[in-house]
Symmetry: C2
Subunit: 312 residues, 2 copies
């Protein structure tokens, strides 16, 4: 799956992933109105609204990008109907040829991690049948519980040829509270990064990159530079671009000399572009056109930063 991701990054020329994190405040009024009329001001109505919103955005941007990253929390808050909209979104994106990174940040121990891995990447045995729950292509994983929390995800990836992005250094302001604390003179995130590199050796793609990648926030470019070196074969998923404050020039050191090795996420900067001053002329009716323009601008920003850095 990592090889497939790299192939699609090359064919689109876009090392970016769009975060499908639909908050109700992003959804234009006319869509909410239609959804609530159909299903009421209920969890079902909310789920319908985010599905309609997602679908229109996907239809307008799928040809520009290799992958999407739905954040499951934004669906889970609407209970079962919300999670059904998550599933429908995953399925629809796959039909459109997109790679789906489920941003689920799951992590537990032994058999429980195995159950999460089965839920999101694998299949479960029911009687004589094998059934898939959510069936994303990659998921994000929290490493706090150590190897026996992560290994069950790797085992499922081996079987299903799917991949992981493990949280190493997250993009939020207080990520340093534990992640930056020094252990033997080096921050915790470096120790986690080394472990990611070791875990990744088990499952290498033909591209030279591992199926086991890492999450490193765009808001920490210096740390990204160090982690790029510590985890030479780990693809890095980089959140924090745009709304969280990072821009193209902050990202160059996350990439390798061939302009590969990283994929940059933007969520609200793309899906809620029509609410930004820069794109407001599109209007709420044409919100998905604003998203398309924002994707093109993001690709330009990143590719020109990589170009200036002599990396492309």
């Amino acid at each position: 799956m990592i090889d497939q991701l790299i192939k699609m990054i090359k064919s689109t020329g876009a090392p970016i992933v769009v975060g499908l994190d639909p908050m109700m405040k992003f959804v234009p009024e006319h869509i909410k109105k239609a959804a609530f009329e159909a299903k009421g001001e209920t969890l079902e109505g909310a789920a319908e609204a985010i599905w309609l919103y997602n679908k229109e955005i996907i239809d307008k941007i799928y040809d520009l990008i290799p992958a999407v990253k739905p954040q499951i929390a934004m669906y889970e808050q609407f209970g079962i109907p919300g999670l059904a909209a998550f599933q429908k979104t995953v399925q629809y994106c796959k039909e459109k040829g997109l790679i789906v990174i489920g941003d689920v940040k799951r992590g537990d121990i032994g058999s429980t991690s195995a159950a999460y891995a089965a839920a999101h990447l694998g299949r479960v045995q029911v009687g004589n049948n094998l059934c898939a729950g959510f069936d994303e292509d990659f998921v994000t994983v929290n490493p706090y519980l150590g190897t026996d929390g992560v290994q069950p995800f790797i085992d499922v990836c081996k079987e299903e040829k799917k991949g992981l992005f493990i949280l190493v250094k997250t993009s939020n302001p207080s990520s340093g509270e534990f992640q930056d604390r020094l252990i033997d003179g080096r921050p915790l995130y470096e120790h986690v990064g080394e472990r990611v590199a070791a875990w990744g050796e088990q499952l290498m793609g033909g591209s030279g990159y591992s199926y086991v990648g890492a999450v490193v926030g765009a808001t920490y470019p210096e740390q990204g530079k160090i982690l790029r070196t510590l985890m030479p074969k780990a693809f890095i998923l980089v959140p924090g671009y745009g709304a969280q404050g990072a821009s193209g020039k902050d990202l160059v050191h996350f990439f390798d000399a061939n302009g590969l090795g990283a994929i940059v996420n933007s969520s609200r900067g793309i899906i809620a572009a029509y609410q930004n001053e820069k794109y407001k002329e599109f209007g709420a009716q044409n919100f998905a056109d604003a998203s398309r323009q924002a994707v093109m601008d993001m690709i330009d920003d990143i590719m020109s930063a990589l170009g200036e850095n002599g990396k492309k």
Copy 2:
């Protein structure tokens, strides 16, 4: 909610919580047969099987215990139908008067953590309505992302009078890989424990315990002793009893001088008791009676250990 939990621990005389973590291999054949006949060998069939299994166990044990802890991964692996069985289980346990600790180990940043908190403890605004997704009483939270990952959960707890158990030292063999690493001469889990104590100050119950508790594995009694002192007002949820190897005597230092301050979880030791040598005379048909006996034996084991320690 922590005061309610303490009240129920006192009224039942049972500082224990039963983990409703239904794996298909625990579900007796006659229940699987009935479920698959009704719904097929599908995700729906699997979800029906675990719901029937849960219900029979709950009906037999609810009067003995204060709380249950469904592990959401075991439901999530069966996709949307599995999560609907999770929701039904949460709802049914609440109807039976049990406190429900959702073992979800969620954790993300800012608005994403807020969405998880809304999903599991709070409500979401849909048009003019407030709707609840899963509506547990407590959830478990992963602290790796730091304060701005945890604070949104605390904010929802304040509003809804609900509670948290934050992972500090987990029960699994490799929990030490990151959690035991020394920072300024002390293991990471102690730093997390201190932070849990500080977070908890924001939200104290009338009982003297905070709404913000901690998870500390029964398999690490020495660490439990230290953490009990570092977090004097945090209730400790203790997994790892029974199947994971700990017994009553390992647990005494997790409790305070009044026999409060901790609640011990057992999952497969209770729900799959009929598969243990000790309870096999019950047979698969009477699996829930075996669970009832296992609950009574667990209460005896823990209370006599607390008694011997002069704590009760």
